[in-house]
Amino acid sequence: MSADSQELRESSKLPEAPLAGADGRQRAAEVLRRAAGVSEVWTFVILVALVAFFTIAAPGKFFTTYDLTQIAVNAAIYLVLGVGMTFVIITAGIDLSIGSVLVLSAVAAGEYNIHHGGPEAGWGTVAVCVLIALAVGTGWGALQGAVVATGKVPPLIVTLGGLGAALGIAELATGGQDPAGAAAAHLQNSLGFGKLLGIPWLVILAAVVTAAFGAVLGGTRFGSHTLAIGSNPTAVRRAGIPVGRHLIKVYGLMGLLAGLGAVMWLSSYGTTSIAGHSTDNLKVITAVVLGGTSLFGGRGSVLGTVIGVFIPAVLTTGLIVIGVQQYWQDVAVGVVLVAAVYIDQMRRKTRERA
């Protein structure tokens, strides 16, 4: 703060009472605006409507602890990936490579595990495996971020290339077959199947990650710069913020969370599932966009992504419970996704005309 703005503060002793009144009114206005204007409210309404529908359609079946836990476990990995994707999409970027990065991280950790004790590996090996998965994911993500930061290749292409390359390396390392003994029993029995007060550790982990990065996006300088870069990168650059370095961090964060996803996957399923992650990117991007994050950058929230992740999860479980073929879920999510982006576009237009 310059000396002059200090002076400004001193010299403009505004009457405190009206200011406080304005503050209160402002807060009320803010709450109203948040409620009416923010797209996650609409998504939340859809989610509540779905839950209500299934609860009524299959009384006593849908709203049981079993289903809730199952929904949450299924959603946990997508949620962790979705948190990272929210940051990436807010910078007006995209990351198609997450499924491959997850596989690559899982393979790297799995190979280490196989050569250091296999299923009976000790806690030390488990710890190293976790670190390897996180490091591989972060490194790969940061590398993609560095290419994006040059501004020469669009993120879509960088991460499309990354998708192919990461999967290729994973297949080269394993011969294309999921190696046996990739996850230690210790890992599976603790993080994979363990519970705390009846809540699976996987769910707790996902909730902690979500809350932490939700706070980072909403309340820190890092989050604010992320939103600003998606909104107007030139202005951010002129304000002296190193945009390139920030993008490397954002894509690195996405990679880190893909690595964490690999750890969660290994602990939950005990295998690398090399062929099983080709549509992770679409699922996660769908969830983020359903949650109201704008593909054009500058707007979005982690809370929205949480809701966006749960809509497909609730649909799948709900359709099973009421006895409808669960493939209808894909149809429904597709329609809702297109509608969500359509509404986002309309809102953007009306706002800009105002």
Binding site: R33, T220, R221, S224, A228, N232, A235, R299, E352, A354
Partner: protein, 273 residues
Amino acid sequence: MASAREPLLAAHGVVKRFGHVQALQGADFTACPGEVVALIGDNGAGKSTLVNVLSGVLAPDGGEVRLEGVPVRFSGPMDAQRHGVETVYQDLSLAPDLDAAANLYLGREMLRGGVWGRLGVLDRPAMRREAVRAFAELGVELKDVTAPVTTLSGGQRQSVAVARAVAFANKVIFMDEPTAALGVVQRSRVLETVRRVADRGICVVLISHNMPEVLSVADRVEVLRLGRRVASFTAADTTIEELVGAMTGSLDGPPQHDTARTGPAVTEAEEGR
């Protein structure tokens, strides 16, 4: 105010080449504290280039820039900002999805104290409070400093950009055509703001193609032609015809306008006000 003043910002013989285009061929420029200086000239005269040199965006190929009498060489816009020199860009340079307070503090966010601050946690209440004060100081009424900047009117947005410069500048503000896209009412608001800022002792350098506007708000007018300062007028004593003549070169020669060579001798403007 009318006492003999040290120029706040002075440029002498600034040269800037782009390939073989010589955008500035020994341009001079003078600005004093608390003064509104209009920088005018035909398209391609070198106005933007001069402002870019003076605000640290471009490095000059020759000549000297002095800030408060001390020779300076800015390494970039951030360096200039550290010296109290701010720029209002023609495109405003705002992040439309962020609110006015966040835009005001973009790149200079206020953080909480202690551990939270070290983790980069923003002190939003403080920023909003300061933003309300900063806007009030400029006579700008924003109903809601937490509304995204896109929802504001053009004039309000302009005011946010100006407020941003004003909040952090303590010496010089450059404004590249800040009223170009504005309606009559908004334009006068911005010009009022310019005047108010100058009255706080800050020097405002205004680029404009609008001659009546220049004459209504500026204390002095400096005219660039072909990369050189060709004239410097006291706004109160000149006419649009005279300005246009100096810009186009059709009025070349009359020595009484040639104050450029003798430096910032013109002070009647301040008495006139």
